[in-house]
């Protein structure tokens, strides 16, 4: 029987057929992506999976690349006799770190100490692709539906984001290359710490900078407060650390975080 697609009935059947194909393909591609992601043995995905699903470490280090490249867990373990994991992640800010810690606690593990390497980008509005809520959601999307604390972050984007997350493939958007790397390309790490190699230029010198007034992001500051409250509630020692830099970096961003921390 030939469908007369110019009649509404035929058109609706054709639309249904395409939608069904879409759903099936989405499920197939999404399932393969999920399988690949969840068996990650190296790199950022493995570290994220470890922190969310397995870590029972006493000390957790959070922060951006500044944390992941500069805090050596084995030194903490050696000095303090406590297990330590570096959960720092490039380009991530307070949203991501709060969700990671809250999900870990939700799973049933409360670390004894959390060391948060803080940056003023944890308080400022940032126009770029990093240090934003979108960056955090993109990284955490494979875990949507697993932890309430992760889901609450997605809720900040409203119903449109929930609609998009109905697609299994969407959760693994742009992650294919990273998933392959995290499965097949061994990367050196020491309990999450990613060593950087190289040498600072001989001309590197300390630079005195003026006080910087940036536009504060109130939502980020709210999440700084949420992290403080979360650690207090669960009797976790929280240390905000301002890493040494080759420049002075006074700003209203740091001051806003210091105000909450004190």
């Amino acid at each position: 029987m030939k469908l007369n697609n110019n009649k509404l009935g035929g058109a609706l059947l054709s639309i249904l057929a395409v939608l069904l194909l879409l759903v099936l393909m989405d499920l197939c591609v999404g399932s393969v992506s999920s399988w690949l992601y969840h068996r990650s043995k190296y790199g950022i995905f493995h570290r994220q999976l470890y922190v969310l699903n397995e870590s029972n470490d006493d000390i957790i280090i959070l922060g951006s690349s500044r944390a992941s490249h500069h805090y050596v867990p084995s030194i903490f373990t050696d000095s303090l006799g406590m297990s330590c994991y570096n959960a720092g992640s490039e380009g991530m800010c307070i949203y991501y770190h709060y969700a990671m810690l809250a999900a870990m606690i939700e799973r049933g593990h409360c670390p004894k100490v959390v060391i948060y390497d803080v940056m003023n980008l944890d308080a400022f509005e940032t126009p770029g692709p990093t240090f934003t809520l979108d960056a955090a959601l993109d990284r955490l999307s494979p875990h949507y539906g697993e932890y309430k604390s992760v889901d609450s972050l997605f809720a900040l984007k409203g119903w449109k984001e929930k609609l998009k997350l109905m697609s299994v493939t969407y959760r693994y958007n742009s992650k294919l290359v990273q998933s392959i790397k995290c499965n097949f390309i061994p990367q050196q790490e020491d309990h999450g710490y990613e060593k950087l190699s190289g040498k600072l230029a001989d001309t590197t010198a300390f630079e005195e900078r003026d006080y910087y007034m940036g536009a504060l992001d109130q939502e980020k500051l709210r999440y700084v407060q949420k992290m403080i409250d979360l650690t207090k509630r669960n009797q976790i020692g929280l240390l905000f650390v301002l890493s040494p830099n080759y420049y002075s970096n006074p700003s209203n961003g740091y001051d806003a975080i210091k105000e909450k921390a004190v």
Binding site: N6, S14, S33, T169, S174
Partner: protein, 475 residues
């Protein structure tokens, strides 16, 4: 409301469903007009006033011209053109004009202070301004009778698929379409949806992905070697094509779903064999607008050689200025004008060289060479278009000669390569084998459906899904 957002997809579905349930064409058009103004107001409600101003001026100008004598019509034409251009000039060019006056005075060592106005550029103003002027000119040149139906006219200017970034519609082809009621046709839905899907693919998978690399390299050009700068230039060439052509396809597809046919805006521009050919394939609605309302009124090609070159330069200088209120856009326009003038000047020599070297001027080798050469010329022009000042353009040009291994961002380049390969294969097929029908255009229904579903999932898997801005939004 950007095209590549869930908000727009839901809006379009709602508009289309209600549109086809309204039985009377007059009410359909009223509904479409309301939807179009809602679409425009989502950016900024205040700017709706400017759209209405241009629409009313153009409509009234057409009505005033009527069957009056030519002298009166000419007066109405010029007054209406000035009035229509007023908002565009004020919002887009005033600051640039004042800065240029200041620069001129400074060069003459005359001290002068000029005010600077902080103004948001209304979305689509360059497009609907040109549509309005085009209409008034068409009435004057008797290409169309003045539109009497106010609803049809308002819809012509404000139609939501084209209002933000074109294509720049022409009254003779569009207004008659609003007169007839369009029944639901599966073919329109299928073709429109395919166009939109391909538009999303171009924009999200290829254009936006290239943009990540381009912004990274050009944003920090001093720290990148020639290899990276050349690769970024190439990727920007692809990005701007995919961004704009993708957007146009989404616009054309949206209109087609409702039964309206907008003009094609791109025809595989990077297969052009000369800069002149490039402008027959790139932003066709704009290039034909400039041809019909600037180039031809100046005399076109029916003049002596010197005047022909003058007409080309006038057309491309104003085209450059249309693209942006900054010196680099004017330079970019001049660059294209000069390239075409040189092309015309050297045509005879090129043919003589081909004859001497026994190369067939219509042959594949010559065509391949011309395509590559045109691509390189156009790509360099896009670099000038991208940067905000001459110094940066000069520094980047110098940087091209410090060759080295390009900066590689694996995820970006891998996904871009997949998208670019698919795009290249499709455009190559359309250019050289237009009679063949594969995948999305296959004559076999299951193949079409599977291709549609696969491309959709591919967009979701490797597209940049984050509501990025369209480059041409600046206009």
């Amino acid at each position: 409301m950007l095209f590549n957002t869930i908000h727009f997809v839901i809006f379009l579905i709602a508009v289309v469903i209600v549109y086809y349930t309204i039985p009377v064409n007059k009410y359909r058009k009223l509904y479409l007009l309301a939807a179009s103004y809602y679409f425009y107001a989502c950016w900024n409600v205040a700017f709706l006033g400017l759209l209405l101003f241009d629409t009313i001026v153009a409509y009234m100008a057409g009505r005033f011209m009527g069957d009056k004598e030519k002298v009166f019509q000419k007066r109405v034409l010029w007054i209406s053109v000035v009035l229509i251009l007023l908002p565009l000039f004020s919002f887009k060019y005033l600051n640039f004009f004042l800065a240029a006056v200041h620069d001129g005075m400074t060069a003459l060592e005359i001290a002068m202070q000029v005010p600077e106005f902080e103004m948001l550029l209304p979305i689509g103003i360059s497009f609907y301004t040109f549509m309005s002027i085009g209409y008034v000119a068409d009435v004057y040149f008797k290409k169309i009778r003045a539109e009497v139906d106010i609803l049809d006219f308002f819809l012509f200017i404000g139609f939501f698929p084209q209002i933000a970034s074109g294509p720049i519609g022409r009254a003779p082809s569009m207004l008659p379409q609003f007169k007839e009621k369009h029944p639901f046709l599966w073919d329109n839905l299928a073709i429109g949806a395919r166009m939109m899907l391909w538009g999303f693919f171009m924009k999200l998978v290829v254009g936006d992905r290239a943009g990540i690399y381009v912004d990274t390299v050009f944003g920090n050009f001093a720290n990148h070697n020639g290899g990276s700068l050349i690769l970024a230039t190439f990727m920007y060439t692809i990005q701007i094509y995919c961004d704009f052509a993708g957007y146009s396809l989404i616009a054309i597809g949206s209109a087609r779903i409702m039964g309206y046919e907008l003009m094609a805006n791109f025809r595989r521009p990077y297969f052009a064999t000369s800069v002149t050919d490039f402008w027959r394939r790139w932003h066709i609605s704009l290039s034909t607008w400039f041809r019909d309302y600037v180039y031809i009124p100046c005399g076109g090609s029916r003049v002596g050689e010197k005047k022909l070159y003058r007409n080309i330069m006038i057309t491309f200088l104003t085209s450059g200025l249309w693209h942006g209120a900054a010196y680099n856009f004017i330079v970019w326009g001049a660059y294209h004008g000069i390239a075409q003038v040189i092309g015309k000047m050297t045509l005879a020599k090129k043919l003589a060289t081909c004859k001497a070297l026994k190369i067939n001027p219509e042959g594949g080798f010559k065509r391949f060479f011309d395509i590559i050469l045109t691509f390189v010329i156009v790509s360099y022009g896009w670099m000038i278009f991208y940067v905000s000042d001459f110094r940066t353009a000069i520094e980047i040009t110098k940087g091209y000669f410090h060759l080295g291994i390009p900066y590689v961002h694996q995820t970006t380049l891998f996904f871009f390569s997949i998208g670019f390969l698919i795009l290249f294969i499709k455009d190559f097929k359309d250019e050289f084998m237009p009679e063949k029908h594969y995948l999305l255009a296959s004559r076999c229904v299951p193949v079409r459906y599977v291709s549609f579903a696969f491309l959709s999932v591919l967009i979701v898997l490797i597209g940049v899904l984050g509501g990025g801005q369209f480059i041409y939004f600046k206009f």
